[in-house]
Each structure stands twice: as structure tokens, then as C-alpha cells.
Symmetry: C2
Amino acid sequence: MSFDDILPVPDFGLGWLDASGDHADVVLSTRVRLARNLQGHAFGPRARVNDREAVLRQVQQKIPRVPLLADAVVAEMPKLEERARRLLVERRMASRDMLGEPGRGPLRATAVLLGASAPVSVMVNEEDHLRMQTLFSGLRLRDAWSLIDRLDEELGQELPYAYHGEFGFLTSCPTNVGTGLRASVLMHLPGLVLTKEIGKVLQGLSQVGLTFRGLYGEGSEVVGNFFQVSNQTTLGKTEEDLVEHLERVVRQVIQYEMQARVVLLRDAAQVTEDKIWRAYGLLRYARSLSFEELMNLLSGVRLGVSLKLLPGLRVYTLNKLMIFSQPAHLEEAAGRSLPGTEGDAHRAAYVRRILATEGAVSPDDESSGAGPSMAG
Amino acid sequence: MSFDDILPVPDFGLGWLDASGDHADVVLSTRVRLARNLQGHAFGPRARVNDREAVLRQVQQKIPRVPLLADAVVAEMPKLEERARRLLVERRMASRDMLGEPGRGPLRATAVLLGASAPVSVMVNEEDHLRMQTLFSGLRLRDAWSLIDRLDEELGQELPYAYHGEFGFLTSCPTNVGTGLRASVLMHLPGLVLTKEIGKVLQGLSQVGLTFRGLYGEGSEVVGNFFQVSNQTTLGKTEEDLVEHLERVVRQVIQYEMQARVVLLRDAAQVTEDKIWRAYGLLRYARSLSFEELMNLLSGVRLGVSLKLLPGLRVYTLNKLMIFSQPAHLEEAAGRSLPGTEGDAHRAAYVRRILATEGAVSPDDESSGAGPSMAG
């Protein structure tokens, strides 16, 4: 089973790239996921192969009766080509854990259900029996919550969730017990990083029950000044309260970030402007780019777009570069694997091609001023 | 006295930029200078003000009778504006020493004679009473020698040179006694630097009586992989022998450099190509450039032009960028001094402007290949 087979719509799972939501230059995307388990089967590390197989069968039987998943594609991880599995991870629809041990491949009966008409997906037999999630562009926590809530209702009609009167929904890991909800917002915070205020802000998050992670979730490093901010607690509050609280704090962080950018332009205009244009120049011309360097350069350019220094460039283009320059995406485009430094060369070539067609900015664009305008 | 007054022809002293000589992509320029002193006046550190004033008067009296200097402009350093003095240094027609101590200005009776119809100039009352020099584009040692030899003949007809039957021409510093000749060739050797062969080559130079210096001569550092290779000895050989020997060795160094470039393209094509294009991208877009960084980036781009990776760009443009982005040149263009980081901003703006009009290269030029072409 190849990537083409599982993605009937070419840009499936990429709706969130369109940079349409609120504050899309600071908030890349909003994700809400719910963890659920089914009664009658062991879950978490105690689940055996026959537990997992029974769960997957049960889910597959029921999905035709779940409106939001009626036209879903069922991508069984063991049946997918290796590259297709990595593509799902890069599109943020499967977790890294679902790839399994190197050389051994994914565990039996792991799958991802991919909604074709709505931005929903469900991981089956990941850490929990079910991990349903939705992904939106920009800051759209309420929309994301209400869509996932609807999916949860629909699935709950068909499947017997493991639920405890006192604790709420039972999960494999105790940190998810209760609502099973994790709402997260992927934020770009270069202003706070460059003004060295980021430490204070991140510390503040943990004091109000929130946490942060890198681009690929738990255990991934922060690159390119991208921070995934999410709720830490799942117990003792309603889902609505959790989502509302996260939204309130995120809006505050956006304010801090905006203030930091004002400070940057006031105190270090020339340095900031130079940094932004250098990043753009390297993206336009480099012949070899690691993914990490690309992310750091995109961070500079994204700041430039947000500050209106690079008027020809759209946030959508930057989002697209981020996704399609990941290793499996580059290999998919090349139609072959790209060992050694070939991936870096293909990445640089892809970035140049996209920027030449969608992101050409004159080196001396009027609005950015030739030379010392901002530094004036 | 301003720069305009001393430079009736706008590009005076810049003929050597035209990149017309032999191997102009590796050899920027050829310079030959002769040191001479006049009988009857103390020279070197022993020369007093009245010695120097007498020498300058004597020279000024005679130059109408010297064909190569008949239309020369006499730029007396103390009468020049401070920026005009620095411009002469940046155009390589005056030495740094001629600027004098900071705050105190140049010594009395120091001057530069600037030939208007031939590329000759004469420093008066620098280390020696007379330092005549000529500067050519590319590798043109014989032409440079024969022009300076003619000037020497013409001046010697009018002025009583201090000459010793055994030692030859007497000079302030014993290392110049004899012929008083220093022939030097400004070479760009990135291949030897990148393949780490440069140490061996430089060591070899000293074994055959040659030496090397940075861009601005004695005591200046090597930047941008530019090396000034010149004769070390001045005594016991004829001028023709010295010049011929230098030429032979320089041609050998050119061969080594070319071999090193072949090795680079064979063993490190992707890294080299990437380095070149990144340098170009930064020059096209940076908002702030120190002179040293500019020289290093120009080194990369120059290599790219030489390797035919940047087909739209000419060596002439790179030579021009080098000269006109020096501090006093930028201030002259701005019509004011450029304190702090303003110079770096003006330098970057100048480079962008010139490259936009004379050096536009498509990020994906066919001949350089999109991505992994050279890396194969």
C-alpha cells in the first residue's frame, strides 16, 4: 500500500497549511486530540496482539456508521510501504512511535483512519486504543474542539468506551485520564527567543498547568523557534474549561511575542532586518540544507513576513516548505530514497524552486528600504 | 583639496579593475615599484622636515620635464582632506603609513604624484624619497616592469639618485637596497586554502626567495584568500631576473591552484557549490556587511565565477565591489562620514545595488544545475 492509495485527495491532511486561521503568522496550527479505550480489551503495554486485532476489527466494522469517518481511508501501518508510514508522521497524522523499532517495523494491528471530508484522523492501537485528532490552521481552538467533540460523540455511539464514574475516561497513561484531551497550539516565537524573554514565558506556562514541546510532540526538540503549547492536566476540569484556559494563555503569549517584536525593531532594527534577509538569501541560493537549518532559516523569514519586510511572500508558502521538505516527502517527490547528503541537496533544490515561483522578493524592495532605512 | 580635485579622470587608478590581464580570475593585479632616494638629503628616519621639503620641491620642479608625469596631479598629503587621503590608500596609490598618526595626520611634505595618462604613481617622502609604482590588471609583470623602468629612466634623467657602485640604489631599509624593486602579484587562492595545501605552497615561496602579504601590503592580514606574492630579495640580481623568477613561480602557483580546484570539484562538489551559492545569496540580500565578511563572501563568489557556476557575473564587477565598498569609498559616495554600523549598512546596500544591475544570477541557472547536478 503506497501513499497514493491512502491519500485519494492530493492535499489530504494539509488543509491546516493554508494560513487562514487567527494570528496565522504566529500560530501555525491548532490540534485537539482525545484518547479513548474500549471496554473488554487490555490497553496500553498490557494489550496483546489479539487485543489489538480485536480492537481494530471492531473499529473497522463500525466506521461505516460514523458519519465523520464514513468515507475514511483505513491505513494499516504494517501494510503500508515504509516511506508512506513516514509520510503520515511528517503530515502529523501518525506518531513517531507508530513507526515501531528500526528494522522491525510497526506493531501488528496499528492503523490510522484518515477522514476524507473533514480534517479528522484516528490512530488505532497507538498508546491508547483510539487517539482521535483534528488539525486546523491558525488559532482555532473552539472549532477544533467542537469538531473532535462531534467525532467523539459519533464514535461513542458505536463503540463501548472504557469509562470510570469518578475518574472519567480511562487511558493507558495516568496523565491522560479524565477528559483524555490534549489541545495544543503550534506557536512561532522568534521575538521572545531573540529578546531572551522565552525562558520566563515557558516557566509561566508550567505555573498555569500548561506545557510545551517541539514540532513533533513529546520528546522532540524545539527547532526554528516553534513551540507546541498544550494543556498538562486532563483531570478535574471540563473539556471546555481546558480549551478556554489554553486559548486565554495562548492569546497572552501572542501579546508577549508581539511586544517582543516591537522591542526588537526598536532596539535592534538593523541586526533583525539583516538576519531576516540573510535567511531569505540562503534559502534562495543554498545548494544543501539540513532540515534543522531549513527550520531555522524559515523562522527568520517567517518573522520577516510577519513584520511585512518580505511583502511578496505568503505564510502559506512557508508552511508548505516546512512540510514538503521533510525527508520522506522529498523521497516521495524524487520517487526513490535519498541517502547521505542527497536529501539535503533535494531539500535545497525544492526550496529554491518554490521560492522562485511563489516567493520572489526583490533584494531591494522599497518597503524594506535599501540599507539603513529601519536602522535610520 | 578634495578627492575630486586630485582625480580629474573619474576612474583614475582603477584601470587594473578591468580584469583584462592574463589569468585575471586568479591574479587580480600586478604591481611593480621601485624605491629611490636623492643625493644630498638624509633619507629614512634621519630625514628632517627641511630634507623632505627640499626633496618635494626638487621633484615638483622637475616633473614637467618627465614625460610620464607631465600631466600628473600632485596630491600633497597634508593639504588633502582626511577622507581623500584614505581614498588614496584604498585605491592602493598611497601607503597606510602615509596617513600618519591618528589625530596628528600625515608628515609634512609627503605627497603622491598621480599620472593621469599612464597607470603610474609616485609616493614622495614615504619610507624612501621616491617610491614609484605601476598597477596592472591580471598577470602582466613584463608590461608593468617595462613601464616602471621607463619612468625610472625618465626620472633618473632629472633627479640625482643615491647610488652606490657596489650595492646599487641606496634605500632607507637595507632589504630594498640594490634594485629597490618589489614586484608583487595579488593572487586569489581559495582552492589551495580549501584543500589545505596553502601552507605548503607558502612555505615553498620562501624557499625560492619570495614572500607573501595581505591585501594592503606589509603587516596587513590575509582576508578573502587573497595573497600578495612578491620578491623578498632585491640585491645581487638584475631587475629582469627578479621579475622573470617571480613570473615563473606565480605561473606555477596558478597551476597548483587550478589543480586544487579540480580536486575540490571531484571530492567536494556539493559542499563547494553550496559554499559559492550561499556566499552569493548573502551578498544579494544581507543588510549589513563588514569589509572582512564581504571579502570572504567575494572570495566564494569569485571562485564560482572562475568555475563558471555564476555565468551572469563578471570578474570586473567583483573587483569593483572590493574597491568601492572600502570605508572611505562608501563615505565618499554617501557624502558624509558613516560612524558605527552605518558603514556596514551602506556597504551591504552598495553590494546589493551593483549585483542587482551587473550580477543578477538566477538561483537555478541551468548551467549550475538545480540541486544535485554536480554532486551526481
